[in-house]
């Protein structure tokens, strides 16, 4: 309850570990300050018949010692911060249970891809749009709202936006990153457990921002391959259907063709068009 979502990806573990370090330091600081405050007020209350106040002035060494101790704390936190950030950015190789087929490896500015050979991560193009997430897989298949990935596999999520600024985060699977139009950014994760992980957009992005949610379904590599195939077929069928309907509409004398109007094929794809509330 006092901690973040339990980590299911190596980078999430780094984030959580440092969170707990901060939690311990933070609680100590808060308790120390407030205990001292209450203690001193109770001890030196005038109505308690305290002696006349002593007009103490501190000499410089005391202030310097206090400042140095605080600077030490800041330095320790900074070093920890850098170490854990670097760790979290290090993309790990896929594990033995993960998808072994290689896919496109794209070097990211903020991500350091692993050096190994047959451990190339799975690259997903995630695109934020008001107010839904679209995921595109290496073979060109796509899905809306739900991202399906194999377990124990390093997944690079390349983020981009088609409209306004969004921010992608699925708790338990790493950190959150801005999604800005015309800008490439990215994150990665390697889920250690099959299941469903919920996430959302964490940047105010207009009217339906609260409904801009997402979900990551982690499955076995075999299930993933099967799902991908099914999804590709479904998309093809849907596009076929739209094209047929369109042809019928053009052929029919009642419906003159509306020139220049493009048909949004994406929106008829399975899994598209809405969050869990719909």
């Amino acid at each position: 309850m006092l901690g973040p979502e339990s980590a299911h990806s190596p980078n999430a573990e780094d984030l959580n570990a440092l969170y707990w370090v901060m939690m311990v330091i933070g609680l100590l600081l808060i308790v120390a300050i407030n205990a001292a405050l209450i203690g001193l007020v109770v001890r030196y209350r005038r109505s308690r018949g305290a002696a006349a106040p002593r007009r103490l002035r501190s000499r410089r060494p005391i202030q310097v010692v206090a400042a140095s101790a605080l600077a030490g704390l800041a330095l320790v936190l900074f070093v920890l911060g850098v170490i854990f950030t670097e760790n979290a950015r290090e993309v790990e190789a896929s594990g033995p249970d993960g998808l072994q087929a290689s896919s496109l490896l794209t070097a990211q500015r903020d991500i350091k891809p692993p050096g190994g050979e047959d451990t190339e991560p799975l690259t997903i193009q995630a695109s934020g749009q008001q107010w839904i997430w679209r995921y595109e897989y290496p073979d060109g298949t796509f899905s809306y709202y739900e991202l399906v990935v194999p377990v124990d596999t390093a997944v690079l999520v390349e983020l981009n936006s088609t409209d306004v600024v969004h921010r992608w985060w699925v708790p338990g699977l790493g950190g959150k990153f801005d999604v800005v139009p015309d800008q490439q950014s990215g994150t990665w994760f390697k889920a250690d457990e099959e299941g469903v992980y919920y996430g959302a957009s964490y940047q105010f992005s207009g009217a339906a921002y609260a409904a801009m949610r997402t979900r990551v379904r982690v499955v076995t590599p075999t299930e993933y391959e099967a799902w991908l195939e099914q999804q590709a077929t479904d998309i093809q069928d849907a596009q076929e259907l739209v094209r047929r309907q369109l042809d019928e509409r053009v052929d029919s004398p009642d419906n003159p063709p509306d020139d220049g109007e493009s048909v949004d094929i994406d929106s008829s794809a399975p899994g598209g068009g809405g969050g869990p509330s719909q």
Partner: protein, 576 residues
């Protein structure tokens, strides 16, 4: 007669004192360049906008009391949110601080006026007109682009109505006024100090006015430039922030965050400075080191502004710059920590009187300690990646708002109210108010930390019911219902508490117990003036010989006039 010293004006320099004006009184005040009238207008304006912001806050918490609430339309909610954001920071926190500075800084430094009296009047009206423009927009289209209207969302392609233009105008006019006032304060502080009042002898509050003014002078123009660019993008086909046309949305984020970081510092630094004056007065001993306190206030301002990118740690900025932001944000531990150490050390060996200003100041220290530590979490990059823009961030900021401008502001108001009006604010209502604010704040904000850890987004108009995530889900979004309900109940208590203090101030202005000129036996120069001070402030501008000029004056008076009978000499007790 007061218990404090009274300087008898032998040769009054302002002979129009007390002569009735031919113009109505409200017109006198509205057009006045007297820093006390300007200060009072700013303070009154800020409290009025606070009341409006509280209404919006309550509506927002009411909407979030239950999951998937449909009471308020999403767009209406976003409008309330956008207006509340501006109201709390730009229309409440900043002018409250600046109003107190405008009123008190000339008094504290032994000046008879501001350097540019008319400019101060203009500043106030720029702010009031800005606020009025924001609120009249409720009759057509209020802004709806969020607390920080990031382009491209705030561009006409996505929000084509006038709401964002209203936001730009309101913030622009107000900030312009504040920047002008900052210049005014800086020149006043530099040129109009009483003889002998060296910089090292400035009391923390007056010193912090200099720090805050420099912050405004740096952060304000950055925002003004950004606002002009955004408006050019919106209405005149500019391409500053438009990603398609060669602009960069991130550019707006940098400029607006420089300003908002400045606002954040202006919520903390003046409150810290007021605390640093209230503690010694009510512990009956000097600050353990004024030098360390003033240096820390200045360092907090300087380092704090450098940490603006701490709010953008999730953006795709080269990692080196993120480390720079983290370093600056963490370095703030030093000056802020030194402040806390000095406060606690000042309490030790004192004779502490728990009057209302002291109680609020102590509560402000406690609340700020939580808010600033919570903010420290966000300074560390990996933890920021967890917590940024979740309800946790809202709660951290909330604690700073309550600890700084709210509790610190009310403490300052209680402390200087006798100077402003010649009367005390009610002591018992103050205690009720304080208890309600503390209970309310913790009830509202603590559950928000937990909701944030469970993944609740910041600034949402709704969240989803728990059972939506019931089957086969790995954690997340589990107890939002409970957290939000508690938070909404807490909001009601919190607002009740704040309103009690507002009522207290309004009632005491005319009916409070008379306080005399020097009710707290403060050691700074404002207590030399009458309460309320005459237009020219001081009949005699004293020579300052130490950190505590009023103490010297009291001693001098005591030496010249042999000790009075015991009945009058009861220290600390006001004599009407």
């Amino acid at each position: 007669m007061s218990a404090g010293p009274t300087i008898h004006p032998k040769r009054p320099e302002v002979v129009t004192d007390g002569v009735a004006s031919s113009r109505p009184r409200w017109l006198e005040i509205a057009t006045s360049g007297d820093h006390k009238d300007v200060g009072r207008m700013l303070i009154a304006g800020s409290l009025a906008f606070l009341a409006l912001a509280l209404i919006e806050f309550l509506l927002i918490r009411l909407q979030l009391a239950v999951p998937e609430n449909t009471m308020i339309e999403p767009v209406t909610f976003n409008r309330l949110l956008s207006v509340m954001g501006v109201s709390l920071v730009v229309l409440f926190a900043l002018p409250l601080v600046l109003g107190l500075y405008t009123y008190l800084v000339p008094l504290q430094i032994g000046a008879r006026a501001l350097a540019f009296p008319r400019l101060a009047n203009l500043s106030t009206w720029l702010y009031i007109v800005g606020g009025a423009i924001l609120y009249t927009s409720f009759v057509y289209t209020p802004p709806e682009a969020g607390i920080n209207p990031l382009p491209p969302l705030s561009d006409t392609a996505f929000i084509s109505n006038n709401g964002v233009d209203v936001w730009i105008t309101a913030v622009g006019l107000s900030v312009l006024g504040f920047v002008l006032l900052a210049i005014n304060l800086l020149v006043t502080l530099r040129r109009l100090r009483a003889p002998g009042l060296a910089t090292r002898r400035l009391p923390p509050f007056a010193f912090s006015a200099g720090v805050s003014s420099w912050i405004l002078l740096i952060a304000g123009p950055a925002m003004l430039a950004a606002l002009v660019m955004l408006e050019m993008d919106r209405r005149f086909e500019g391409v500053f922030f438009d990603p398609g046309g060669g602009g960069a949305p991130t550019y707006w984020q940098h400029l607006s965050w420089i300003f908002m970081t400045g606002c954040y510092l202006l919520m903390v630094i003046p409150a810290a400075a007021a605390i640093s004056e209230i503690l010694p007065t009510f512990a009956r001993k000097p600050l353990i080191s004024r030098r360390a306190v003033n240096l820390s206030l200045a360092a907090t301002g300087a380092i704090g502004l450098l940490a603006w990118m701490q709010n953008m740690l999730t953006a795709s900025i080269p990692i080196g710059w993120l480390y720079f932001a983290m370093a600056a944000a963490l370095l703030l531990i030093v000056p802020v920590g030194v402040l806390f150490v000095n406060w606690l050390a000042t309490l030790a060996s004192g004779a502490i009187e728990l009057r209302a200003p002291m109680l609020f100041a102590l509560a402000a220290i406690s609340t700020l300690s939580i808010g600033l530590v919570a903010e420290l979490f966000h300074a560390v990059i990996p933890v920021n990646w967890l917590l940024a823009d979740t309800a946790d961030a809202t709660a951290a900021t909330g604690y700073v708002v309550v600890g700084g401008p709210v509790l610190g502001g009310i403490a300052a108001l209680h402390y200087w109210f006798p100077k402003l009006t010649g009367r005390f604010m009610g002591e018992s209502l103050a205690r009720f108010s304080l208890v309600a604010i503390l209970i309310g704040a913790h009830l509202t904000l603590l559950p928000m930390f937990l909701a944030g850890l469970d993944g609740q987004q910041a600034d949402v108009y709704k969240y989803f019911e728990d059972d939506l995530y019931a089957d086969g889900v790995v954690g997340t979004f589990q107890s939002l219902d409970t957290y939000n309900l508690i938070s909404s109940i807490g909001a009601l208590v919190l607002v009740t508490g704040i309103v009690m203090s507002l009522v207290n101030a309004a009632r005491s202005a005319g009916h409070g117990r008379r306080a005399g000129h020097d009710p707290w036996r403060g050691d700074t120069l404002e207590w030399l003036a009458l309460s309320p001070p005459p237009p020219h402030n001081f009949d005699v501008v004293p020579d300052v010989r130490s950190d505590e000029p009023m103490r010297d004056i009291r001693d001098a008076v005591k030496r010249r006039h042999p000790p009075v009978p015991a009945s009058r000499a009861k220290s600390g007790e006001p004599v009407a």
